[in-house]
Amino acid sequence: MKKLLEITLGIVTSIGGFLEVGSLATSAQAGAAFGFQLIWAIVLGTVCLIFLVEMSGRLAAVSKQTLAGAMRDRFGYPFFLVPLVAMSVLALLVMASELGGLCLALQLVTGISFPWWAPVGAFAAWLLLWKGTFSVVEKGASLLGLVTIVFVIAAFKLHPDWGRAAHAALPSMPRHEPMRYWFIAVSILGASIAPYLLYFYSAGAVEDKWNESDVPVNRVSATLGMSFGGGLAIAVLIVAALVFVPRGIRIERFDQIALMLTSVMGRWGFFLFAAALGIACFGAMLEIALSVAYLVAQGFGWKWSEDARPRDAARFSLVYTVTLVGGALIVMLGVDPLAITLMSMALTGALLPIAIVPFLILMNDSRYVGKYGNGWISNAVVCAIVGLAFVLAVVSIPLEVMGS
């Protein structure tokens, strides 16, 4: 019975954490520009994420080390700087995107222009990390994140052709604007396969003192949780496709995405969109700030613990504080939030090998995972999808940058 409760909680927290500004913006863009066609990108990204999240839980449960710690442990110091710097810079950009999303949600509801919300949003997130414990952060933000189910409801209300949607789960070639198609595809992959999630998840598993007996449960909750999350992103894409394509709307600005739910649900839709966007982004901000702090603190062997008071994990607390401040500064610079979101998602795709190759090596090293090493399917699937993301990113990012 307790196991069942654990699994359910695991799944629920996984769903809530999945949809954030990256998935929202990329899925909405995909739906508006290409109808159902890019559903396969969400499917691929979700499948890869399921494997990776399960792996990060398994690594923590068996080796009793976090991903960041195990990377320094196994590969040593000069090498470790590469993922450390790359992932931290990337996380900062994604943090700015999420904060931008939160600010937009607040702007929609209050009418107050959004750069003003940046210090407020960052401060609120910081306060929660400063005073809260890991459980409160993880479960609270995720339970609230269930409001994103509103997109699933909207999708059903629009009576999509489910057959056509299922068909789109298979990859297809674009019929127009190929460069944009592949750029959005890699952005979707980068939005789904977020490396910061892996550092966050494995740290949580270690802080919760997982062991080998948690491996099967982890498998189930990772699969179901991330699947539901992928379903949410597909719902967003479907709604965008059915709302924007008939009206010929191309998404150029963030606030256009807000219209998604109004045509389906009227005024309520508007507020629900703002709530879903705001809560999802807020949750992501917490996870990203903690992920950077985990990376740095675990890599250098400092005390790291979200449960501990800040004074008992001083440098760790300083790092997440600085990360939030950095994100706020970027947003206050007035960078276009939609542009930074799409670009940071695509950049994630390009940098994935840096995060994933060391991870895969660890998952095949019996000194860390004992008898619980990866089977050839896990290795092959992850290699293939990450490889695809990398190739797409390297090809499409420069062309997109030149084109705009």
């Binding site: 009793k64 040593g76 110091y77 400063w130 400092w302 005390k303």
Partner: protein
């Protein structure tokens, strides 16, 4: 007991007598003589030690950063090898870390930055 220094000691997490983290093994010091087997005398921690492991231009940047961020970063911190109690998933050291110099930067950040913020 056989030890592979890179695999089992270098870059491993150090914990003190109470299980609290002390940092990571950033360096290992050995005493070399031509006519006797070299002995490992200390493990070393600190920004300077890490900086020296990097190639040329990076070394200077990191060393500079380390000096700015760590108040007492001029000397690397060394722990005598005979204080190593156990080598396993982590390296256990027979030290009480609360007053140890290994935690000096942590204490400095706590006292000068964190403690000044309410609610810490």
């Amino acid at each position: 007991m056989e030890i592979a220094l890179v695999r089992d000691l270098l870059d491993k997490q150090l914990v003190d007598r109470n299980g609290e983290p002390l940092g990571r093994v950033d360096g290992i010091v050995m005493s070399y003589r031509a006519d006797a087997p070299p002995r490992i005398t200390h493990v070393e921690l600190g920004a300077q030690t890490l900086a020296r492991r990097l190639p040329g231009p990076f070394r200077r940047t990191v060393a500079w950063l380390g000096r700015r961020l760590s108040p007492r970063a001029s000397e690397p911190y060394r722990i005598e090898a005979d204080r190593i109690v156990h080598l396993g998933r982590v390296v256990k050291i027979d030290i009480d870390g609360t007053r140890s110099a290994a935690r000096e930067t942590e204490r400095w950040v706590r006292d000068h930055i964190i403690a000044r913020i309410p609610g810490s």
